[in-house]
C-alpha cells in the first residue's frame, strides 16, 4: 500500500534547515537571556536550532498550562462555591436560580474567549520563533 504524503519516518520541516544557516549569529544574541531555562548539560554540543525549538515548546507549554490552570481553577472554584455557599442559588433571575444561569449559559462565553485568546497568543509565539529563525 502506498501512502502519498506521510510515512512512519518523521521528516523535520523546513524551518530548522533554513534556520541552521543563521546559527552563529543567533547563539550570540539569545542564548544568555534564557540560559537558565535549559536542562543542565544534556548535550554540550546542542545547536542553536535545538535551543530555539526548545524555547518555542517551553513558551507554548507555559501558555497552555496557564490557560488550563485558569479554567480548572474556575470550574472547581464554582463547583465548591455552589456546595459550600448555597446562597448563590437563592438569588433568582426570571425565576431560575442564579447558579443555573451561571452553569447553563455563563460558562460558554468564558470558554470561547479563553480559546480565542490562547489561539492568538500561540500564533504570536510561533511568529516570534519564525522571525528569530529567519534572522
Amino acid at each position: 500500500m502506498h501512502r502519498s504524503d506521510a510515512g512512519p519516518q518523521p521528516q523535520p520541516h523546513e524551518p530548522p534547515g533554513r534556520f541552521a544557516q543563521q546559527r552563529p549569529q543567533r547563539v550570540r544574541v539569545q542564548a544568555p537571556q534564557d540560559a537558565s531555562l535549559l536542562p543542565p548539560n544534556q548535550s554540550p554540543e546542542h545547536t542553536a536550532e535545538e535551543f530555539y525549538v526548545r524555547q518555542l515548546i517551553r513558551s507554548q507549554l507555559r501558555l497552555a498550562c496557564a490557560v488550563a490552570a485558569g479554567l480548572l481553577a474556575l470550574l472547581v472554584g464554582i463547583c465548591s462555591l455552589l456546595v459550600f455557599w448555597p446562597v448563590v442559588s437563592i438569588i433568582q433571575l426570571f425565576s431560575i436560580p442564579l447558579s443555573w444561569w451561571v452553569l447553563g449559559v455563563g460558562m460558554y462565553p468564558l470558554i470561547i474567549v479563553a480559546g480565542l485568546l490562547y489561539n492568538r497568543a500561540a500564533a504570536r509565539n510561533e511568529q516570534r520563533y519564525r522571525s528569530i529563525s529567519r534572522g
Binding site: Q11, I57, A68
Partner: protein, 500 residues
C-alpha cells in the same frame, strides 16, 4: 427499557419518514463523495483539503452524540444542577484539546493514535499494539451507547422492537463509510451538525412559546424555582471527578483526533478548534433549555430512570395533535443524525486502527475492518440494556482520560518520556480505571466514600496514570529515543507552508 407512550399511527408514520429522510440524505451525500475519493489517502483523511468551517461543522457533527442530543437533557432531569456540568465538560474538553493537542498532533502527520505512538517511539512495536487495542476498546465502548440510544428512540417513537434501531444505524454507517471513506464522512458530518442543531432549535422554540404563557408570573416563579431546587444533585467529589474526566477525556477520543489530520496546517487546526467551541456552545444551550422544561413537565421520568426519553416525550406533553407528532418526528430525525454521525466517525477510526494493525492498511482491509467494527457493537447493544446515556459516555471519557490522554500529553510535551514509561502508565490507567468502573456498575448508589471512588474513578486514576508514566520514564531515562529532538521539532515547529 420500556416505551412510555403508545405511539399513534400518525406519529409513528411521521417519525419513520423523518428517519428515512435522514438516512437517505446521509447516503446520498456519501455517494456524492464517492465520485471524489479514490486513493487510500482520500479514504483516510480526505487528502487534507477540508476548510476550517467545514471541518469544524464536521467535528461538531461527529462529537454531538446520543449522550449530547438525548443524554444531557435527561441528566438534567435526573440530577438537576449537577447535570449542567456535563455539557460544560464536553465543551471545555475541546478547549483542552486546543491547548495541548490540536496543532502538534496535526503536524505529527499521524493518521491515528497508534501512528502517533509509532512516530514518537519508533523502536517500540509493543506500545503501538497496546494503543491499538485501547483505541479498539474505547471505540466499542463509545459505539454501544449510540446503539442503545437508537433502540430507545425508535421504540419510543414508533413502538418497533429494540433491535431495529441499532441495525438501521449499523447498516447506514457501513454503507456511508464503505462507499467514500473520510471525504464523504466529512460532508455527512458537517451536514449532520446543522441538522441536529435545527432539530433541537425548532422544538425548543415551539415548546418555549407554549410553556412560557402557561402559568401566571408569580405562580410560575414559585413552582419553577421549587422544582429546580428539588432535584437531587451529586456530591462535590463526584462532580469534580466528572469535570476532570470530561476535560481530559476529550483529548484522547480517537474519532475526534482523526478529524485533526484533515486540517492543512497546525494553525488551521487551532482555528478549527475555536470554531468548534462556538458551535458546541450554541448547541448545548438547547438540551439545557429542554432539560429545564423536562424538570417541569416530565419529572416522573427521573423516578423510572427513563430520563433519556425526555426530549422525545416533551412535545407530546406540551402540545397536541399533528404539531406534537411533527415535532417528535423532527427530534427523532435529529437523534438519528446524532447516532449516525458519531458512529460513523468512530467506525472510521476503529476500522483505520484495525486495518493498519492487521491488514497493512489496504483499502480492502479497511472495508473488512469496517464491517467488523460495526457488527460487534450491534450485537452487544442488542444483548444488553442501556445505562443513562450521558453517564455511560462519561465513563468512556474517564477511561480515555486515564489512558490515551497521559500518552498524548506527555508524548507531545515531555521529551523524557520513554516507551516503557508510556506502556506502564497506559496499563495502570486502563486496569485501575476499567476495573473500578466495571465494579462500580454493579454497586448500588449508596452514599459511601469508597462507592463514589469506584463509580467515578477519574479524579484518582488520571493522576495515577500520569504519575506512573513519569516515574517509570525517570527510572528508564537511558531509553529515551535518539530521535526525540527531531520528533519534538516536527511536532512544534510552525508549518513552513505559511509564508511569513
Amino acid at each position: 427499557m420500556s416505551n412510555g407512550i403508545g405511539a399513534s399511527a400518525v406519529a409513528s408514520a411521521l417519525s419513520i419518514s423523518a428517519l428515512v429522510v435522514v438516512c437517505l440524505t446521509t447516503m446520498l451525500i456519501a455517494f456524492y463523495g464517492l465520485r471524489i475519493s479514490r486513493t487510500t489517502s482520500d479514504f483516510y483523511v480526505a487528502s487534507r483539503t477540508v476548510r476550517p468551517w467545514w471541518n469544524a461543522s464536521a467535528i461538531g457533527g461527529e462529537y454531538l452524540s446520543a449522550a449530547s442530543f438525548l443524554g444531557v437533557a435527561g441528566l438534567i432531569v435526573l440530577s438537576g444542577q449537577s447535570g449542567l456540568w456535563f455539557p460544560i465538560g464536553y465543551t471545555a474538553g475541546y478547549l483542552m484539546l486546543l491547548l495541548f493537542v490540536a496543532a502538534p498532533l496535526r503536524r505529527s502527520r499521524a493518521y491515528t493514535i497508534p501512528d502517533f505512538a509509532q512516530i514518537r517511539f519508533e523502536s517500540s512495536p509493543m506500545l503501538r499494539k497496546l494503543t491499538t487495542y485501547l483505541v479498539v476498546v474505547i471505540c466499542w465502548l463509545y459505539i454501544v451507547p449510540q446503539m442503545h440510544g437508537a433502540a430507545l428512540t425508535l421504540s419510543i417513537a414508533t413502538g418497533l422492537p429494540g433491535w431495529v434501531g441499532p441495525v438501521v444505524v449499523a447498516t447506514v454507517v457501513c454503507v456511508t463509510v464503505l462507499s467514500g471513506g473520510m471525504r464523504s464522512v466529512t460532508f455527512v458530518q458537517a451536514f449532520q451538525y446543522w441538522f441536529k442543531l435545527a432539530a433541537l432549535v425548532i422544538p425548543t422554540i415551539f415548546l418555549l412559546v407554549r410553556a412560557i404563557p402557561q402559568q401566571s408570573a408569580g405562580e410560575r416563579a414559585h413552582s419553577l424555582y421549587a422544582q429546580l431546587e428539588s432535584v437531587n444533585t451529586m456530591n462535590l467529589y463526584e462532580t469534580v471527578s466528572i469535570i476532570l474526566a470530561l476535560l481530559f477525556g476529550t483529548l484522547g477520543l480517537p474519532h475526534v483526533l482523526v478529524r485533526f489530520y484533515t486540517n492543512p496546517t497546525g494553525q488551521t487546526a487551532r482555528t478549527t478548534t475555536v470554531i468548534v467551541l462556538c458551535l458546541l456552545s450554541a448547541f448545548y444551550l438547547l438540551p439545557t433549555t429542554l432539560g429545564v422544561l423536562g424538570i417541569l413537565y416530565t419529572p416522573e421520568l427521573g423516578a423510572n430512570n427513563e430520563t433519556d426519553a425526555t426530549i422525545l416525550l416533551l412535545p407530546g406533553r406540551l402540545l397536541d395533535g399533528v404539531v406534537a407528532d411533527a415535532l417528535t418526528a423532527i427530534v427523532v430525525g435529529g437523534a438519528f443524525a446524532a447516532f449516525l454521525s458519531t458512529t460513523s466517525g468512530l467506525v472510521v477510526s476503529l476500522a483505520g486502527a484495525i486495518s493498519q494493525e492487521f491488514f497493512n492498511g489496504t483499502v480492502r482491509g479497511f472495508r473488512i475492518s469496517t464491517i467488523l467494527a460495526t457488527a460487534l457493537p450491534v450485537l452487544i447493544a442488542v444483548l444488553t440494556s442501556s445505562l443513562a446515556l450521558a453517564g455511560a459516555i462519561g465513563n468512556v471519557f474517564a477511561f480515555t482520560a486515564s489512558t490515551i490522554c497521559p500518552l498524548l500529553l506527555l508524548g507531545i510535551w515531555w521529551r523524557s518520556l520513554t516507551a516503557k514509561g508510556a506502556i506502564a502508565g497506559l496499563l495502570t490507567g486502563a486496569i485501575t480505571c476499567g476495573l473500578s468502573l466495571s465494579i462500580g456498575i454493579f454497586l448500588p448508589t449508596i452514599d459511601l466514600w469508597w462507592v463514589h471512588l469506584l463509580r467515578q474513578p477519574a479524579a484518582w486514576s488520571v493522576p495515577l496514570a500520569f504519575m506512573v508514566m513519569i516515574v517509570v520514564s525517570r527510572g528508564t531515562r537511558r531509553a529515551v529515543p535518539q530521535n526525540t529532538d527531531r520528533v519534538m521539532a516536527l511536532l512544534h515547529v510552525p508549518d513552513p507552508s505559511r509564508n511569513s
